[in-house]
Symmetry: C2
Subunit: 152 residues, 2 copies
DNA sequence: CATTATAATGAAAATGATTTTCAATATCAT
DNA sequence: ATGATATTGAAAATCATTTTCATTATAATG
């Protein structure tokens, strides 16, 4: 097991621009609704539910419907730009995904998410496959706790 | 990281008996509905949803209601006897929990769950705390794949 | 720039999982 | 056996999500 390395991201504005361009490249149209949802997700420091995004997105695009939030999330998830956050407190929130293989550290209080990499589970996985007979495709490594702000 | 060790369990009958006794010790009454749900969970080789338990439990206790399934699951989860299985395919299934700190290997096809221990993430956790400032309470380590039966 | 095919929209209704309410019933201490 | 009350199932309510559908907005084309 190597040391964890916290992953840092590009700026929200840039992220938002890239995502919209990518959506367009994939044949999707850029609309006010999509822009609003993408911006909200790109700026978020914590994980957001569809309802959160609806509320935040409405500030930018008055007519935004909850249905479009779901539809945009669906597309962003398909394209690997966004991922669902699963935790003891629920599984209804989304956060922007990071490239490559990395994992999450989630604040149980405010939903803030840090991504990290540096887990090295190859040997462990191979042993587990041998012992269990399973063919392993994927793993999740997640930590839950309280972030610095919420500790105060 | 030490080697994974697959955890084996006591017999379904014994498990069921222990759980019911424990429920009673906690002040809960033993009823036909609870017995049916507990038996189904104790015998399960794979994770089961409330609807699964309703169907299976009805064979043992004709009048079983779905509501009682949910209420029993709630209590068993409180007491740490049962735990929810979270995965890419959903988070609606339950499996009997194992004592101590251990993790899951889940078949994406049939829902079969193997529990294992032997992860040693203490150092990794300490480093992650230092780097992030989070106070970490808990972690999940889960593997997903296809079990031997489903490979055939 | 105007036209147009059609992708995307929001509202309302539908769905699926879970929870609440409530009057009837079963459990267990006495 | 009795009685206090925990537990029940059915129906209704709730919450997250999806589907339907007629209308509107986007972007490719002339």
């Amino acid at each position: 097991m190597t040391h964890p390395q916290i992953v840092t991201e590009q700026s929200p504005a840039e992220k938002s621009r890239l995502w919209l361009r990518y959506l367009q490249q994939q044949g999707y149209r850029i609309t006010g609704s999509r822009r609003a949802v993408v911006d909200a997700l790109a700026q978020a420091e914590r994980s957001l539910t569809a309802a959160d995004l609806y509320e935040i997105g409405r500030a930018k695009h008055k007519g935004l419907g909850l249905v479009s939030v779901y539809r945009t999330l669906e597309k962003l998830e398909e394209l690997g730009l966004v991922q669902r956050v699963h935790g003891p407190g629920g599984c209804h929130a989304y956060i922007s995904a990071q490239d490559g293989h990395n994992h999450m550290l989630v604040c149980e209080n405010c939903g803030r998410v840090e991504m990290f990499e540096g887990d090295d589970l190859k040997d462990f996985t191979r042993n587990l496959e041998k012992q269990s007979g399973f063919r392993i495709h994927e793993h999740w490594l997640q930590f839950f706790g309280v972030c610095t702000e919420c500790q105060a």
